[in-house]
């Protein structure tokens, strides 16, 4: 497993040597900053309005600021995750360095896990930026930290699943753009599958909704740690990485 960390460090380095990491972190910080500013602004406005009316409008930072914001982090992630994973294998295949990895005395699994962990680390770095924003809420308000921690865990699990899928799709092509576009398409589809449950309640629609990444995030956003949703995400991660391993093996048989 030491090899896994060697690969992981190498991948992280190449994220940060090229502008990719800075671009992603910067874009994420700006977009999330805007969401945060909006959410807090609206919360303050609603609070003042409630006060002026003299009504007892229930105000809760967790419910009205944190919960919609963490859901939005997921949405931003949807756009950025393909950009994180698209290069993982496609670039190695194009430049021929895959031959180096495939003929070095390391296991495929170590390469795959190393690359996926590096992608996870970059995503975790993006989440760390949101923590800066949330810190202001703790400075001026009094939110509960536990639901936020659960939401972070949910975000990591959700991203882990999408990153695993992206890693898999990256092994299928030498072209980074194709890998990225395919990942975006699949992620988007997994996202919106849940919509069918709005008007249909047949078994197939419930099955489709179950497959949706979004369905399983709702409890996390509320701050509820539900085992079945954790199991769903972990299963998705394992499946994605398993497919990656299969694909890497078939690469050898096909190429």
């Amino acid at each position: 497993m030491r090899n896994m960390w060697i690969i992981c460090r190498k991948e992280l380095r190449s994220y940060f040597v090229s502008p990719i990491a800075y671009l992603l972190l910067g874009m994420f910080a700006i977009v999330f900053g805007f969401f945060f500013w909006n959410a807090v602004g609206y919360f303050v406005y609603a609070g003042m309005e409630a006060q002026m009316r003299g009504g007892m409008f229930p105000m809760n930072v967790n419910e009205q600021v944190i919960r919609p914001l963490v859901s939005n982090v997921g949405v931003i992630g949807l756009f950025l995750i393909p950009m994180i994973t698209m290069r993982l294998f496609a670039e190695e295949k194009r430049s021929g360095t895959i031959e180096l990895l495939a003929t070095a005395p390391i296991r495929d699994l170590e390469v795959i896990l190393g690359k996926w962990l590096a992608a996870m680390a970059l995503y975790a770095g993006m989440l760390l930026l949101t923590a800066l924003n949330f810190a202001w809420l703790f400075r001026y308000g009094n939110p509960d930290w536990k639901p936020l921690a659960v939401a972070y865990l949910g975000l990591l699990l959700q991203a882990g699943a999408l990153l695993a899928i992206g890693t898999f799709l990256s092994t299928l092509t030498r072209n980074q753009i194709i890998a990225g576009a395919a990942t975006f398409g699949v992620c988007l589809l997994l996202w919106v599958l849940e919509w069918v449950s709005d008007y249909e309640s047949a078994t197939w629609s419930r099955a489709m909704a179950y497959l949706s990444i979004l369905t399983h995030f709702e409890s996390f956003a509320k701050g509820l740690l539900s085992i079945k949703d954790v199991v769903f995400y972990v299963t998705a991660i394992v499946l994605g990485l398993f497919l990656t391993a299969r694909s890497m093996e078939s690469l050898r048989w096909r190429s």
Binding site: K10, S95, L100
Partner: protein, 338 residues
């Protein structure tokens, strides 16, 4: 050190490597020779565990490539056709990374890194970004990564392709200096390279093994039973080549006389005899006694190119066309070197 038995790689529509068998002893340099698309790279990829064979067996240092890939990979240093470099890395970072994934740690890693930097003469490029190195330096960094873990076997896929003549010489010298400690297989389609660097040749064509032998044996083999070129001149103007040919055929030990060309008062014959040495004296005497001049008497030199073409030409071309295309290859390689 390397054993290959009936190795085959087939795809849905084609067979890239077709039942190839050969063996390489410890410390040898073996030239893997064949025209483009002959299956050299595929064979090498199977030896390095990058591709699994469809059937047959390949073993490196006693370990089978399918059963014990990790053991094989530990003992092999591989330089693919394009050096597998990460363009954004610096030379030293790259070598350290490769050393690590090949199992080197701590002081040993530092020692080996310094060693290969020195050995491949890339110490000056230590802190340069790989993407900005010239072709020659990339090749050397590629070679450095192949030898960093001091492997028993080195597999080099066209190590001199695309280099300038000076770099080609340097690379060849480097490869030669690595022999002894390492068993080396190098593929090439440049023949002089094999003549200069290798002791043994494996020639493949269209996926099939065409020949495997030592360079010297191959040369002797193509000479056949010892062909001798004889140039005969007549003293009085013109020469009757048929008369000369008849006379030469009567010399004891001569099995075949081939008329090659005539030019003014002299004619050239290629004489094949049962034993190279014995017929020369008789030939010379016969020519002189018949009243002709013996202008030249020499062993018909055959370059590896001709052997190669003879072996890889599927249709039985006559000697002349082989000669002609041999010249074409010569000029082509000459140009490539310029």
């Amino acid at each position: 050190m390397i054993t290959v038995q009936q190795l085959t790689k087939s795809y849905a529509r084609s067979t890239a490597v077709d039942h190839i068998s050969f063996e390489v002893g410890k410390g040898q340099i073996v030239g893997f020779l064949g025209p483009n698309g002959a299956g050299k790279t595929t064979t090498m990829r199977m030896l390095t565990c990058f591709l699994p064979p469809t059937s047959g067996r390949a073993a490196v240092a006693g370990f089978d490539v399918l059963e014990k890939p990790l053991e094989v990979k530990r003992r092999i240093g591989y330089l693919p056709e394009t050096p597998p470099l990460y363009p954004e890395m610096r030379t030293i970072e790259y070598l350290t990374f490769v050393g690590k994934i090949k199992g080197l740690r701590g002081p040993e890693l530092a020692k080996r890194t310094d060693f290969v930097l020195d050995r491949c003469a890339i110490a000056d490029m230590k802190d340069k970004v790989l993407g900005k190195l010239s072709k020659g330096y990339r090749q050397r960094v590629g070679l450095a990564q192949a030898i960093i873990h001091n492997p028993d076997v080195l597999i080099l896929d066209e190590p001199t392709a695309g280099l300038d003549p000076k770099q080609i010489n340097e690379t060849r010298d480097l490869i030669k200096s690595l022999a002894g400690d390492h068993t080396i297989i190098l593929s090439t389609h440049i023949l002089p390279e094999v003549e200069q660097t290798c002791q043994q040749v494996v020639i493949i064509n269209k996926g099939k093994l065409a020949a495997t032998d030592s360079v010297n044996n191959l040369r002797n083999r193509a000479r056949g039973a010892g062909s001798v070129l004889v140039e005969v001149a007549s003293r009085n103007g013109t020469i009757e080549s048929e008369i000369v040919q008849k006379r030469l055929e009567q010399v004891p030990g001569v099995s075949r006389v081939l008329f090659k060309e005539t030019c003014g008062n002299h004619a050239i014959f290629e004489v094949a005899g049962r034993s190279d040495r014995a017929i020369r004296g008789d030939l010379a005497r016969a020519v002189v006694e018949a009243g002709w001049d013996l202008n030249e008497l020499r062993t018909a030199a055959v370059s590896l190119e001709e052997i190669f073409l003879q072996l890889t030409n599927t249709d039985d071309a006559n000697a002349e066309s082989v000669q002609a295309s041999g010249d074409a290859v010569q000029t082509a390689t000459g140009k490539a070197k310029e």
